[in-house]
């Protein structure tokens, strides 16, 4: 966190929602930067603004105030493709008509890679997330935890610069949480950065840096 440009930086980002006459301040002047090769966690109670922060970073939502920078520039965040930012949303958005393998390989397929060319990389992430025996099943034929790991595999498959995950261990048991965490670690070791919104104490322990949120503000940071 020295003078060098971070991978992504939020500066004084605010976002309000209007619920009837009431205004909800989902984000209140948030400053956050994510460095290259860093594994950052966001923790905080439900409703503290974690998902809003992620949506802003993905470009699915525009901040009312403040700026979002990407590698020193300020592109339209929504236009950054899967090899830049890959996401594991809270609702996973798997394609139910595709097998897990096809879901995982989808980013490669849509970027024009042929089936045999992508088989290797798909195999790697499948192994990493311990999904080998399930690849021919369809999403609704596997458990929620397995679906979550599939979505994570899909996020990792193109080795993006930033992986954003919203509660990726919500449906994992203790053992699988480690698997998931190992996958993040593996990504970081190849130079990627990860931003993980989570509740899980076990995950929190292993993170490089943890940002604590409450009521739309960052209230603390642990390393």
């Amino acid at each position: 966190m020295t003078g060098s440009t971070p991978l992504a930086r939020l500066t004084d980002v605010s976002k309000d929602y209007h619920r009837g006459p009431e205004t909800v301040h989902a984000l209140r002047g948030v400053d956050l930067s994510i460095d290259f090769g860093e594994l950052v966690g966001i923790v905080g109670p439900s409703g503290s603004g974690k998902t809003t922060l992620i949506n802003v970073l993905c470009g699915w939502e525009h901040p009312d105030r403040g700026e979002v920078a990407w590698m020193g520039a300020s592109p339209e965040m929504g236009r950054l493709l899967w090899d830049q930012i890959a996401v594991v949303p809270q609702r996973l958005g798997l394609l139910d008509e595709l097998s897990l393998a096809d879901n995982i390989g989808l980013p490669l397929m849509l970027s024009g890679q042929k089936t045999h060319a992508r088989a290797g990389r798909v195999g790697e992430v499948v192994a990493l997330l311990e999904l080998d025996h399930l690849v021919d099943r369809r999403p609704r034929q596997v458990s929620l935890g397995e679906q979550q790991r599939t979505a994570l595999a899909r996020a990792l498959v193109m080795s993006p610069r930033l992986v954003i995950a919203d509660e990726p261990t919500g449906h994992q048991d203790a053992e699988r949480e480690t698997t998931v965490f190992d996958a993040f670690r593996a990504a970081v070791s190849t130079g990627a950065s990860c931003l993980v919104a989570t509740h899980s104490p076990r995950v929190i322990e292993q993170l490089d840096r943890v940002v604590e949120m409450e009521d739309g503000s960052i209230v603390g940071e642990r390393t």
């Binding site: 998902t51 950054l80 809270q90 394609l95 397929m109 849509l110 089936t115």
Partner: protein, 797 residues
């Protein structure tokens, strides 16, 4: 002087006073047939007296004093060579009398139809089975009629009429009226017998055309009833299917609840029963609404406006029974769904179940085909297959249903294979194929339902138009062309806007040793080709070649034979004319199926008749023309061609058997189209609704570089694919069954040509176009709903 008519009018008016809906009584006197002549030529006429008759004809010419004498039809006058004012002789049953021509009116069959003459139709127009027109009317003024007929020794019929003042009579009203009239008839007849009413030398007959109305209506009801019954049964089955499906999907929507109830030991039956009981009140309301709606619809569009409200009360037990059966079916559907939910194991893919279902469906299909083949062989022995037997309707529909189910399933199983080919070519199409292959049950049901409905539609339309075209072809063979008229002019009329040809025929010629009767047909090689109906199945050579062979010089004269082979030379005039048979034909226009004929050129025809003509009746000469019969008839009349007797193909098409068959097939086609429309609409709406769930997937795939256009292509390919599968299966199921059945529905199987199969390309093309447009709209709506969705919002929930 009080005439017999006045007498009867008085009595009837008195008697009919109590009968409702009848206007004032009028009477007419109708003679038996007598003959009229002005010189040598004699023609049949029928003397008639009727109030206002001359106000309801088109007067063409009249004598200086048109009040005396009789009015002749123009055609009759021309035939006997009489003009207004000429003296003519009428030969009655006993004596002859001389009178004069008061005027000429347009021959009624060639006049526009007039309501005034409606009750006399059978005396004016040619019946479908008659060759000739009835004798024309000779209209006689009142006082003269009595003198004339008395002089002729004629005993005319007295006809009476009372107009029916009931614009839209119901069947029950007609029946009541017929009964009332029967009573009046009995009373009047009794008073004639007792001598109270003196009818003198006149024969008095009392009857009513309403009787005909009643019998026609009864016949129509009888021909419609099996179809309506079949539709009712089919409708009932569909309704039960819907109820079962409703039960099934109700449970599927609350599957978690169903599972947890099962876990607490509440079994499928108990749960199904609960759904059934829950649905009682809605079902009751629905049934009541259905009955009400049924009444409204029948009142509005028929088939009867005579539906008493008691019908509902008397049918109540049946309605209630149906509703209860529906509820039980629904409960069963729900119970089945619960059971499936209990057993549902994540591991078991859909394909295994599907394969099993496919095998079962194929079993049904094979059984169906077997039944069809057996029935087909059995049916072909039966005379007059007709559609009265609902089996002939139900069987093809059953076959189409089986074929559609099998086809839709097979395609679904094949889709993944096809998808694999697309995987590296077009991600859009690959995704669409995956979506289709993995589509949930509802899509399958709708695709299959659409296939069944459209299959039935195509079947109805194909068989309907095939039967029509085949019958038309047969009719043309029977008539010779579209239109045929007996004519006296030996000259081919010139300057007509349509092709025409003169054909002569002399029948009853003995051939060989005299045991064979043949008809000698003379055709004009120059014009026959263009005007006569010809089908390549009639002969081994083309018509052109045939005419060429017949035109060749030679002794004996070249001829073509139809029917039994010619047994020897033609006999007549105390000598024999040998013929050289150059072609043997399977059929020839204008030659009926049980007739033996030899065809020669018209020149040879006349040469032969010169030799044998003295011993046979004079030949017929017909003018054949192709085109719209009405236009032809008008144009010929305008060209002053005298037409003595006309036939056109319409006469043949007008038979009740054909009409009821075409009606039934039309109803089938329309029902299929309507059901297909509903299924397609359901499919489109369902696929659209399903896509609302894919907003997140779409947000993600767009980040993967999947463009809006590609997304649209996927949606379009999926929706269009589903619709086209439906339509394709429908075509593959409907057309072969139509091909199988249209032969069975041939009304005249022995008459060539063989039944033709008309594939309704226009309908198919129009359906594809409509489906294409609807799919594009649907895909566009999907796209719009994705575009409009607030992704951030969707992500959070």
């Amino acid at each position: 002087m009080r005439t017999i008519e006045d007498e009867i009018k008085g009595v009837l008016t008195e008697e009919l006073r109590g009968v409702p809906h009848l206007g004032p009584v009028s009477t007419a006197l109708v003679s038996a047939i007598s003959r009229v002549s002005a010189g040598e030529e004699q023609k049949d006429i029928r003397l008639i007296r009727r109030d206002g008759a001359l106000d309801h004809v088109e007067k063409i010419a009249e004598a200086d004093d048109p009040r005396h004498g009789i009015w002749l039809a123009d055609v009759t006058a021309e035939q006997i060579g009489a003009a207004p004012g000429d003296r003519i002789v009428i030969s009655g049953p006993a004596r002859k009398k001389s009178t004069r021509v008061a005027g000429l009116y347009r021959y009624l069959p060639l006049d526009e139809p007039r309501p005034y003459w409606q009750g006399f139709g059978e005396l004016i127009y040619r019946g479908t089975s008659d060759d000739t027109y009835p004798a024309s009317f000779a209209i006689v003024p009142s006082d003269e009629y009595y003198k004339l007929t008395a002089g002729l020794g004629d005993f005319p019929d007295i006809r009476w009429e009372a107009p029916l003042e009931m614009p839209d009579p119901a069947m029950s009203e007609v029946v009541a009226l017929v009964d009332a009239l029967d009573r009046v008839a009995a009373t009047v007849t009794a008073s004639v017998e007792r001598g109270e009413l003196k009818v003198d030398r006149y024969s008095f007959e009392i009857g009513t055309l309403l009787e005909l109305v009643r019998s026609t209506a009864t016949e129509r009801i009888e021909s419609v009833t099996p179809v309506v019954d079949l539709l009712a049964v089919a409708g009932g089955l569909v309704a039960l299917g819907v109820m079962a499906a409703a039960g099934f999907y109700l449970v599927r929507r609350r599957i978690v609840e169903a599972r947890s109830l099962s876990a607490r030991g509440i079994g499928p039956l108990a749960q199904g029963l609960r759904y059934g009981l829950e649905a009682t009140i809605p079902a009751g309301i629905g049934t009541a609404a259905g009955v009400f709606l049924g009444f409204a619809v029948v009142r509005l569009v028929g088939p009867t406006n005579d539906l008493p409200l008691e019908a509902a009360t008397s049918e109540l037990p049946r309605v209630v029974l149906m509703a209860v059966i529906g509820l039980v079916t629904m409960a069963a559907g729900a119970a089945f769904a619960v059971r499936r939910a209990e057993k549902e194991i994540a591991e078991e893919g859909d394909t295994a179940t599907e394969r099993r279902a496919l095998v079962v469906a194929m079993g049904f299909a094979v059984a169906g085909v077997a039944v069809a083949v057996i029935l087909r062989n059995h049916l072909s022995d039966v005379e007059d297959i007709g559609l009265r037997d609902p089996m002939t309707m139900a069987l093809p529909i059953g076959l189409i249903l089986c074929a559609s189910v099998v086809g839709a399933m097979a395609l679904r199983l094949l889709l993944p294979q096809a998808g694999r080919l697309l995987r590296d070519r077009s991600p859009s199409l690959y995704l669409a194929s995956r979506r289709l292959a993995g589509a949930p049950g509802m899509t399958q049901v709708l695709v299959t339902a659409g296939a069944c409905a459209l299959g039935v539609m195509l079947y109805g339309i194909t068989v309907g138009s095939s039967v029509k075209v085949s019958t038309q072809a047969k009719a043309k063979l029977f008539v010779g062309s579209d239109f045929a008229a007996q004519t006296s002019s030996a000259q081919q009329p010139q300057g007509l806007s349509f092709p025409s040809t003169l054909v002569s025929a002399a029948d009853g010629i003995s051939a060989g040793d005299g045991f064979q009767q043949v008809t000698l047909v003379g055709v004009d090689p120059a014009t026959f080709d263009g005007a006569a109906y010809w089908d390549s199945t009639f002969a081994d050579v083309s018509l052109e070649e045939l005419l060429g062979e017949l035109s060749a010089d030679g002794d004996p004269v070249p001829a073509a034979s139809v029917g039994e082979p010619l047994s020897g030379p033609l006999n007549g005039g105390g000598t024999q004319v040998p013929l050289r048979v150059v072609e043997t034909l399977d059929a020839f226009p204008g030659v009926s199926e049980d007739e033996n004929a030899v065809v020669v050129t018209i020149d040879n025809f006349h040469e032969i008749l010169k030799v044998i003509g003295s011993s046979i009746s004079p030949p017929d000469q017909e003018l054949w023309a192709s085109g719209d019969p009405e236009m032809i008839e008008r144009s010929l009349l305008e060209n002053d061609v005298t037409l003595l007797r006309t036939v056109d193909t319409g006469v043949v098409l007008d038979t009740p058997g054909l009409q009821s068959m075409l009606w039934t097939l039309g109803v089938l086609g329309a029902l299929g189209a309507a059901a297909g429309l509903i299924a397609m609409l359901g499919l489109f709406l369902y696929l659209q609704a399903r896509h609302r769930d894919t907003v997140i997937a779409s947000a993600i795939t767009r980040r993967m570089g999947f463009s809006r256009t590609a997304e649209f292509t996927t949606s379009l390919a999926e929706i269009l694919g589903a619709a086209l599968i439906s339509l394709g299966v429908a075509t593959a199921a409907g057309l072969p069954v139509a091909a199988l059945m249209h032969v069975q529905l041939d009304l005249r199987p022995t008459l060539p040509p063989d039944p033709l199969l008309v594939i309704p390309m226009m309908t198919i093309a129009a359906t594809v176009a409509i489906v294409g447009v609807a799919s594009a709209i649907s895909a566009w709506r999907v796209q719009r709903s994705i575009d409009r969705a607030d992704i951030a919002q969707v992500m959070r929930t």
